[in-house]
Symmetry: C2
Subunit: 209 residues, 2 copies
């Protein structure tokens, strides 16, 4: 006695939905096993689609990696921009407060989505074509923006006496650590020591003094 209005055959997902599920799955897989350690079959399986659909919607495995990284950086940008716009309105001409928010937002994001940090980490061992692509399309622009903001902080008399490059290294080296290495650090240091709030506060004290 099935109700007729409830169709038995499963609804075909929209193209965007399928692509999104593929990218989410690819992000997790690439972040866990690296490019060579990941297989398009497993990525498709975890996304609930067939392997050939990756070829159709994205292209080759290399294409999938790039599209996935673009997707992750876009999510980071949206996360930071949205919250920062509000902070800029409230604390205009208070660069120190704004920069503390940048740190907090970055830590928040790497805690919620450690995949991006991990993919960067794994890829950055040797200089490869993928690394050059990362540099050109994502990393250099971000570093340039950070340099501007940090210069304002220092001009306003805030922050420790360190260069923007040293701050950058803290942002990509220390910020993701408790989340990108959660499998090791949570059992070692305890859950409560690996919360984004606590780690952001630690980061702020390290950098701002």
């Amino acid at each position: 006695m099935a109700v007729k209005s409830a169709p038995q055959r499963k609804r075909r997902d929209s193209s965007d939905e399928v692509l999104h599920r593929i990218l989410e799955s690819a992000a997790v897989q690439f972040a866990t096993f690296g490019f060579e350690g990941s297989s398009t079959r497993t990525i498709a399986e975890n996304a609930g689609v067939h392997q050939a659909q990756i070829g159709y919607h994205v292209g080759s495995k290399e294409d999938l990696w790039k599209v996935t990284v673009n997707f992750l950086f876009e999510r980071l940008r949206a996360h930071v921009d949205q919250a920062l716009k509000q902070s800029l309105d409230e604390s205009v001409s208070e660069p120190v407060r704004v920069f503390e928010d940048v740190i907090r937002l970055h830590v928040d994001h790497t805690a919620k989505h450690p995949e991006l940090s991990r993919i960067m980490l794994i890829e950055s061992a040797k200089r490869t074509a993928r690394v050059d692509w990362l540099l050109k399309n994502h990393v250099r622009p971000i570093l340039a923006a950070l340099e501007l903001v940090w210069a304002e902080v220092r001009a306003a008399g805030g922050g420790r006496d360190v260069s923007s490059e040293e701050v950058f290294m803290m942002m990509i080296g220390l910020a993701p650590t408790p989340f990108a290495q959660a499998g090791l650090l949570r059992p070692l240091l305890g859950r409560e020591r690996c919360t984004p709030e606590r780690h952001a506060q630690t980061m702020i004290e390290w950098i701002m003094g």
Copy 2:
């Protein structure tokens, strides 16, 4: 007219030599591509041996990973111990100087042999059997030792007002960054900014104040 005393057929390597070459090759491979991304065939190829020799000398791929990690930690321990023994003689009852040496030695080692840091980094995403093995056999003992030394530093009035866990996170998060991510950071920040001397000095200033 070959001189007879120079034997043409290549000398059979000693068992230790073969094992050592396998471990060096495995370290590089695991550090670059992770466990799943590495193949015993490529490891053997880069070591100049046949794939089946890995099975004979070490065992399974999983065994190879563990033996390789043991080998790398042993090299780290030797590097730190040897130099630290001398430092302890010279600066007995000067824990601050000794700890600065610890930082320097650790940075030196991760610059000379980034493989260990990278393998830890890659593995530590999720809690797996290999991570538990790492914790039990290597990481927990090191953290315990660090806690003792840091307590002495703080008791002597040195170092910033931070916990040993925060120092530990700097050691595994920030210390390896310029070398474990050299493919990205050397083109980005320049070679001179990624030297062990300079990075060790930066680390000391971050931690000791």
